[in-house]
C-alpha cells in the first residue's frame, strides 16, 4: 500500500501560483478515486515568502505532511526554492525546476548571496538528484502568458506518470476561470510535450 502512495512537494515564491498548481495536482488524485491529502500554510507565511505545499495520493493517506526522504517528486517554480527543498527528496526522487530566478530582498539588501548555476549544479549532481531544468517561463510566454508557467510545469510532471491526459485536462478546465481554460490547456500541452521530447 505504501508503494502506491505518491508524494509530491510544490515549492515557489508567494504570488507564483504554487497553491493553484498544488490544487490541480490534488484534484487529479481525487479524480482517480484515490484518497488525497494536501497541506499548505496561509497568513503571514504567504507575504512574498517561500511557499510550499504537500500533495499525497494513495489508497489510504494519513498524514497531510510528507517526511523528508519520502518525497517522490519536487516541483519547484523558482531555482533557489528548488535548492531549499531538494533535501526532502528520496534518493531516486525527481526534481522539476522552473528555470527562473526571483532574487529575495535579503540578497538585494546585501544580506546573503544567490547561488550561481555552477554551485547549484554541483550541489544537486553530487547528491544524485535527477533534475529537469524546464524553461517554463519561456514556454508560458510562447503559449500566451508568463503567468501560466505553473501549468507548464504540471504538464511536464504529467509526462512522468501514467495518469490519463484526459483526467489532467478535465481537472484544469474545472479549476481555472473559464476565460483562461484554453490558455492553460495550451500551457499544459506545451509542458508535457517538452518533457516527452526531453525523455525521448
Amino acid at each position: 500500500m505504501k508503494a502506491m502512495t505518491l508524494n509530491v512537494v510544490l515549492a515557489g515564491v508567494g504570488g507564483q501560483g504554487t497553491l493553484l498548481a498544488a490544487d490541480i495536482m490534488a484534484l487529479v488524485g481525487l479524480a482517480q478515486g484515490l484518497d488525497v491529502k494536501k497541506s499548505e500554510v496561509h497568513g503571514m507565511a504567504q507575504r512574498g515568502g517561500s511557499v510550499i505545499s504537500h500533495v499525497r495520493w494513495g489508497a489510504r493517506v494519513h498524514s497531510p505532511l510528507i517526511a523528508p526522504g519520502e518525497v517522490d517528486l519536487l516541483i519547484a517554480f523558482e531555482r533557489l526554492e528548488a535548492l531549499r527543498y531538494a533535501g526532502l527528496l528520496r534518493p531516486d526522487g525527481v526534481l522539476l525546476v522552473n528555470d527562473y530566478r526571483i532574487v529575495p530582498v535579503t540578497v538585494t539588501s546585501g544580506d546573503g548571496r544567490y547561488p550561481d548555476a555552477e554551485e547549484e549544479e554541483a550541489a544537486l549532481s553530487d547528491a544524485g538528484v535527477r533534475r529537469y531544468l524546464i524553461p517554463a517561463m519561456r514556454i508560458a510566454q510562447e503559449v500566451g502568458q508568463a503567468r501560466v508557467n505553473n501549468v507548464v510545469m504540471l504538464g511536464a510532471a504529467s509526462a512522468l506518470g501514467d495518469v490519463p491526459v484526459s483526467i489532467w485536462r478535465d481537472v484544469i478546465s474545472e479549476r481555472v476561470p473559464e476565460r483562461f481554460v484554453a490558455l492553460n490547456e495550451r500551457a499544459f500541452a506545451a509542458g508535457r510535450e517538452w518533457m516527452e521530447r526531453e525523455r525521448h
Partner: protein, 604 residues
Amino acid sequence: MRRLLSGNQALARGAWKAGVRVAAGYPGTPSTEILETLAPMPGVYAEWSPNEKVAFDVAVGAAYAGARSMVVMKHVGLNVAADSLFYAAITGLEAGMVVVVADDPGMHSSQGEQDTRRYAKFARVPCLEPTDSQEAKDLVGAAFELSEQFDTPVLLRMTTRISHAYSVVEVDAERQGPPACEPGTYRIDPAKYVMVPANARQRNPIMEERIRRLAAFAETSALNRVEMGDRRLGIVANGIAYQYAREVFPAASFLRLGMSYPLPAQRIADFARQVERLIVVEELDPFIEEEIRLLGIPCEGKSIFPLEGELSPETVRESAIAAGLLPAASRPARVTPELTALPARPPILCPGCPHRGVFSIARKLKLVVNGDIGCYTLGFLPPLGAVHSCGCMGASVGVAHGVRKAGIAQRNMAVIGDSTFFHSGIPALLNTVYNRSATITVILDNRTTAMTGHQQHPGTGLTLQQQPTHATAIEPLVRALGIAHVAIIDPYDTAVVESTLKAFMALDEPSVIIAQRPCALLPEARRAYRPLRIDASKCIACGACRRVACPAIRLSDEVYAKNNRQKSAIDPLLCTGCEICAQVCPVNAILFRAQLDGEQGGAA
C-alpha cells in the same frame, strides 16, 4: 459526492448541515475561511464582529434566543473572549452553541503557541478535536448535539494542519431542522441567566456536575475509538497528531480521542491494561498525558515527543527513534545536497505597501515604534527595522502610553491598523486622552483587514455577507474621544509623513495621524499600478532605494564605476508605482509617474 475540502471549509459545511443560524467571529489565521465559507450559504446569518469578545457575546445571545450558534476565532482570540466563555459555561444556553478555536502550533502566523484545551478544563466545557476534514464536518454536528444535551457551550479545537490541510469529504446538500431551535419568545429565567453572586452560587454546582456527566458520556461515546493492533505499543492520540502517529507506527494499537476533555477514565484504564507500553502523542501541551497521570495510570508523552512547535511525521519518527521505540533503520534515506547557507526568503511588505512610507520615515527620525498585529508588523524586518514591540491585538497604544509615562530619551509612537484599531485600539486611545500622555498614534488605514486576506470591518461599508452598511469614519471617532490633534495624510507622500510626524513630536498632548491609502493588493489599488523605471545613467549605486525594502527593487547587472557597486533596477512585473523609492533617491534617478508619462508623450 466526494470533494477535496480544507478542514475549515468542511467545518463550515458541517455547521450549515447541523442548522447553525447565527455565526460570528473575527478573522485570524488559521480560522478565517470558516466564516468565509459559511457566509454565502442559505439560511445563515454570519458576521465579522469588531473583536472576538463581541463575537462570542453575539453567539451567546443567539443561543439564549433559541438559535443554534457558532463563534469562530484563532487561539489568541479566545484570550480576548475568555470572559464570555466563562459566563456562558455557567449559564448554559437555550440552543446549541459551538466555540470553534483554531490553534497555531509552530506559530506559522501567530505571536505565540497556546493550547486551547487548557481553556476547556479551566471553564468546565467539553472539547472535541477532528483528525481530518471529514471529521471537522461531522464533529460540528456532534458538538451541537452535545451542547444541547448537556446545556453547555462546546469547544471545537482546530489546529493549522487540520484547518488548512485538504482531505476527502463526503458532501451532501441536506440541512437539518435543528431540534429545539424554533425562533420564538425569549425565555425568561433569571436564576439561570442573571449571574449575580446569589444565582451564580446556585449555577456553579450544576456546572461541576455537568462535567462529571460529560466524563461518563465519554466512556461510551463513539467520539472516542479503540483500534487494536500490536499490543506491545499502545498510543493515545488526538487531532493531527493521530495521523502522524498512524503514519509512523502503522501496526500499533490506538486509542483515538475525538473528545479531548473530559477524558474517559475507565476506557483509558482498559486500554492501558491491554498494551505493554502506553504513550501519548499530542501537539503542544502534555494535556492528555497529565490527565492520564492524574488517573494514576503510568504513561509517557513529552519525555519522548517535543513540547514546543508543530509535530510532523519526521519529528514523531525521530523522537521515537531516540526513545528506542523504532529502529534507526526506519528513518528514510534522503538526498543531502551540500549547500552553503541559502539566502532566506522571509515574508515581507508587498511592493506598493502603503505602510512602507510611514516606516521609512519613522526610521529616519529614529522613533521608537510600538507596533501591533497585522501586515505592518513586518516593518520590524531589516533593512526597515522600524517596529520595536508587538505583543497582541490592540496593545500598541497602551504600550506607547506606558512608555511615555515611564519617560525615555527617544521619542516613541504607536502604529495600529484600521481593523486592529476597531478591534481593541479605541479604549487604549481613550486612555491617552483621559490620562494625558503625548502619545502619537499612527492609524495605518488601508481600508481592510489585510493580513488575513482582506476581510471587511466596521470601516469598510460592507458586511461579511456583502451587505452595504454604515462605514464608520475614524477621524470623527478619534475627535470624539478627545484627540485635538488629528491629521489625515497619504503615506505615499513621504515629505508629508515626515513634516506631520515632526510637528506632532513637538506636542505634549495626544495626537493621531490617520495614514490613509488602500492596501496595494485591493482591486482599486491594482487598477492604478504603473511600474516605475530607473535612469541607469543617473544611478550612483548608493543603495538608498534598497533600504526601503521593496521586493520590486533589484540589483542591476550594471556597475557604477566610481564605487564599483551594482546599480539598482526595478522589476516591472512587481512595481506598483507607489514612488516611495523615487522620493528617497538623492539623485532623482528613479523616474516618477509624471516623468514617465511625459516621456511617453514626447515619444508619441
